[in-house]
């Protein structure tokens, strides 16, 4: 009988290992463990076993029953899980389709550059002020030491509203407006739109400048160099080489044009820098004593420096844009690159 039992186990296990479907597993269960199953029948016939072997036989019967039953349960659970996966897979998405989102918008590249510059100067103690875009001739020119008919007026063409009212040609008039209202020390930055009647690949009739002004006791040209060097290195990178060279602005003296090493060719000469290896970045200088007199500051008492730069130029260099007009065409395909 015991031998028969062992044989039964072998048989059952063989059948289990070849079973694949749920039905086959259930059939095995019925065949061996069911009410009329082979194992059940053997156990029912335990009376035919010799008395002293009965406990052993009973124990083996139970062990085998549990082994078979366990294997069947495991197999069935595995099958069920596979089936569920199959069902889930039928609910599959195409992960290569674009994600569903509201696309985020972009800040205009000019705004981006302006924000960056303002935050650099905030760290140097400069606060932002604004002035009118339609400006009196006095603030745009005369107070800045550019009298009527002065040759320096040839430097910039001007949009006129009336004889004495212009669209400001630079952000410099803000210097005067601030100094008229505030006693030194002054540390300001003034970004904004400016206007000149010019239109081609490198000029638009409207563009943006940032003006800076620092006035205090004992401010020197060396300070001008220090502040602008620090600024340009933060803007273009610590390794940026720069040079200060003499220039002329009616409202500063001595005046300096500041160049950086060409960002395109690193100085070897290219189309962007006109083969010179240098790029003009900003104009600057020590505030002219005449300007101080116009705002009732005593030039023997305080000194200062001013600077101005064009945001489009910076943005063009930073982003590699060659046509300034793109900034104001507002083509979505352009805007979405920033």
């Amino acid at each position: 009988m015991l031998k028969e039992l062992e044989e039964l186990q072998r048989q059952a296990e063989a059948e289990l290992s070849s079973a694949k479907t749920e039905g086959e597993f259930l059939a095995v269960r019925t065949r061996y463990l069911g009410r009329k199953g082979l194992l059940t029948r053997l156990l029912r016939n335990i009376g035919n076993v010799e008395e002293e072997k009965r406990p052993l036989f009973g124990m083996r019967c139970n062990e085998i029953k549990e082994a078979i039953s366990g294997k069947i349960d495991t197999a069935l659970a595995k099958l069920a899980s596979l089936r569920r996966e199959e069902v889930l897979l039928r609910d599959k998405v195409d992960v290569t389709l674009p994600g569903r989102t509201h696309r985020y918008g972009r800040v205009h590249p000019i705004t981006r550059v302006r924000q960056e510059i303002c935050s650099i100067f905030a760290g140097l103690g400069f606060s932002v002020v604004e002035g009118p875009e339609v400006e009196l001739d006095y603030y745009n020119f005369e107070a800045l030491n550019i009298p009527k008919d002065h040759p320096a007026r040839d430097m910039q063409d001007t949009f006129y509203i009336e004889d004495n009212i212009v669209l400001r040609t630079h952000t410099s008039p803000v210097q005067i407006r601030v100094m008229e209202k505030q006693r030194p020390p002054v540390r300001i930055l003034s970004p904004g739109r400016v206007y000149r009647p010019d239109s081609d690949i490198s000029h638009t009739p409207m563009f943006h400048q940032i003006e800076g002004l620092l006035v205090d006791k004992g401010i020197t040209f060396a300070d001008l160099k220090g502040v602008l060097t620090s600024f340009l290195k933060q803007l273009f990178g610590e390794d940026t080489a720069l040079r200060f060279r003499p220039s002329f602005f009616p409202f500063t003296e001595p005046s300096a044009e500041v160049d950086i090493r060409c960002v395109m060719c690193s100085g070897s000469g290219c189309r962007v820098c006109g083969q010179s290896g240098w790029l003009e970045i900003l104009g600057s200088g020590m505030v002219d004593p005449e300007v101080f007199k116009n705002v009732a500051y005593d030039p023997e008492e305080v000194t200062g420096f001013a600077f101005g730069l064009g945001l489009e130029r910076i943005a063009m260099l930073k982003f590699g844009i060659s046509d300034i007009r793109l900034f104001f065409e507002n083509d979505r395909r352009f805007l979405e690159q920033f």
Binding site: S127, F159, S247, F248
Partner: protein, 805 residues
Amino acid sequence: MLVSWKWLKDFVDIRLTPEELVDRLTMAGLEVESLQENVPSFTGVVVSKILSVRPHPGADKCFICEVTTGDAKYPVVCSAGNIRPGNVVPLAKVGATIPGGYTIRTSKIKGEVSEGMLCSEEELGIGSDASGVMILSEHLSPGADLASALDLKDVVLDIGITPNRADCLSIAGIAREIAAITGSPFSYPRISLPERGEDIHGITSVDILDPDLCPRYSARVIKNVTIAPSPLWLRRRLEAVGMRAINNVVDITNYVMMELGQPLHAFDHRFLEEGRIVVRRSRAEEKFTSLDEKERVLRPDTIMICDGVKPVAIGGVMGGLNSEVKEDTETILLESAYFDPSSIRKSAKWLGMNTDAAFRFGRGVDPEGVIRALDRAAQLMAEIAGGTVCKGHIDQYPKKVETAGRIPLRIERVNDILGTRIGEAEITETLKRIGMLIEKEQEGHYRVTPPTYRVDITREIDLIEEVARLHGYDCIPVTIPPVSVKPVIRDSREVAKDRIREILRGSGYSEVITYSFISPSAVDCLLLRADDARRNLVKIENPLTEDQAVMRTTLIYSLLETMKKNANVGCTDLKVFEIGRVFFQRREGELPCEKEQLGCLLTGMRSDHLWSSKTYADFFDLKGCVENIFDSLKISEIRFMHDYRETFLHPGKSCGIFIGDQPVGYAGEVHPDVLVKMDLKNRAYVLEIDLELLLRNFKDVTLYRELPRFPMVLRDVAFVVDEGLHAAGVIDLAMSAGKELLENVSVFDIYSGKSVPHGRKSLGLRFTYRASDRTLTDDEVNVLHNKIVKSVVEKTGAKIRGEEH
């Protein structure tokens, strides 16, 4: 200004390469904008001598020449009639290349062998003379390379001269500067004048009637000149600096102007009535025909150069047609004068004639350089045009031109301004190098007199700049001024604007920047009423184009134009915003009122993903973005009022935006008529908000409110109300009936159609109840809720959906 290297070397010895010079000049404030090598555009052309010339047997107009290059002889067929045996001429040998891409080959011309080509100036690209073979100086030796024999190579610098440096508007001026920078000596051209014959005072006279406009006028008379083309060297120099050669006399005046910076004028003396010069201011409405054959009406106070009867030139600007040098001119009256710079600038501007002469007079010539230029030109007219320089010159100088002198200079001040420690000796030496006269007053105190050509130097600060420039900006230290102890507080307006940008960016709007000027017709396009304040346009006197002729009073037009431009390139879905100013005209003489506005435009699909959603954006997308902005700026009293009307918006789908009772802007769909006027195809939604008013209500303060500790209870109810009834009105009613336990009422459904009577709509509202100190019971909520619903029903005539019967 274009400057020839070779010309510079007449005045100063340059021991630098052109590249080094470019760098030195640039770093001294004379920015070199470009450097160009002028090399001949031919190769293989040599000097040759004609041995014989005989007619070509087979061709009427041709000659066969035998030419020698010293070591070899060549037969050359030539058709020019100007060659004679003994002439020294350029020979393009076989293998030579000449401009136009031609290579010379051995050829047979009607049976005769030709081994080369005799060239004209024009064929060699040297000059414009194409009349015959170029005849060279007999001193040139045959066989020599033509380019070196004629010294044709040159380097031309283009230097940007700043408006203050009038003294650098000449070759000599630049040379003076190079001498100062490099330490080489500078010298003017040597002038030797062979004066002969009659005295000038017997021939002419000069009367200055208005010395304020013309403080100095000098003249010479040169007789017996022969008008002809200038020699090659002179023409080439003029061309190198960008001037066109005309004839020897005119070229000489231009040459001396370029060389010394003093404009000159040559009159044909025979056309001067009474043979004399009178300088006066123009009369009212005076007319005059200038050299360029244009009749011009002069502004009052124009300087007129006249003869005994009539004007013959606009002083300092341009000569007159009536006294121009002609082919048969024999006697020249040469003018060298000093005119009032301001008057010249005004006249040149008025006449639109920014001539080389006016440019230089306008910036200020050297009042003491007048005679040098006069003599230099007279000398050249004798040498080149064969003229006889009459004895003496006229120099009317009734009013001394004041130049700055004895400017005080403090050594300490120099270093205080520059942040340097430049020694006294270096400072004084530097100033001496540029021709300044230095007098020491006491230790550290000097008086400095600049040369008369440095009209830009009048003050101590001007001297300091010169010291800085020549000391070298590179050598000035780099320091950081102490940062002020006062902290920088970011302007709250800036903060708010950046926050608005953030919110809009997150909502999918991209920032645009459009021109502040628009077309005057914009206000009509937008159908603005005749009395609309936005018709108070600020007009630009000199716009570039008519569609940029006025300053805008609204951002909407620019945004619609942006939409159109994008539609034209296929971008019909657009979400954009702009922060910019608008301008309103005030009284004449007063600055316009400038206001900063926010404008948004939305058009096309709600989402880019056509596969997922094909819905079009509408009014509520735009409104949602307004709500977000107000929310982020912590402004809660926002209201949307339908009865606020903009003519350019859809009357049914637009509203005014209010903070409390104050209108701050509007939002809505663009009126279909406006779309038609602007040739736009798709619906668009726009908003414009006055940022000044918005930001006035912005407080950059965030205060935490404790989270609720007890649960909420929800009740939904659908009211069937008149279609015209606003949701906000119903919600306000409910809220005011609900007191403190009703936390919120929100819309969860809007429905009209089947099962709702015509002319009515179902408004589904969700009521949220909550107490701050306990959990509400169902009964408590039911009692309150029923009361509120009843009150709404009574006040609005609403029915409860599902209970209509």
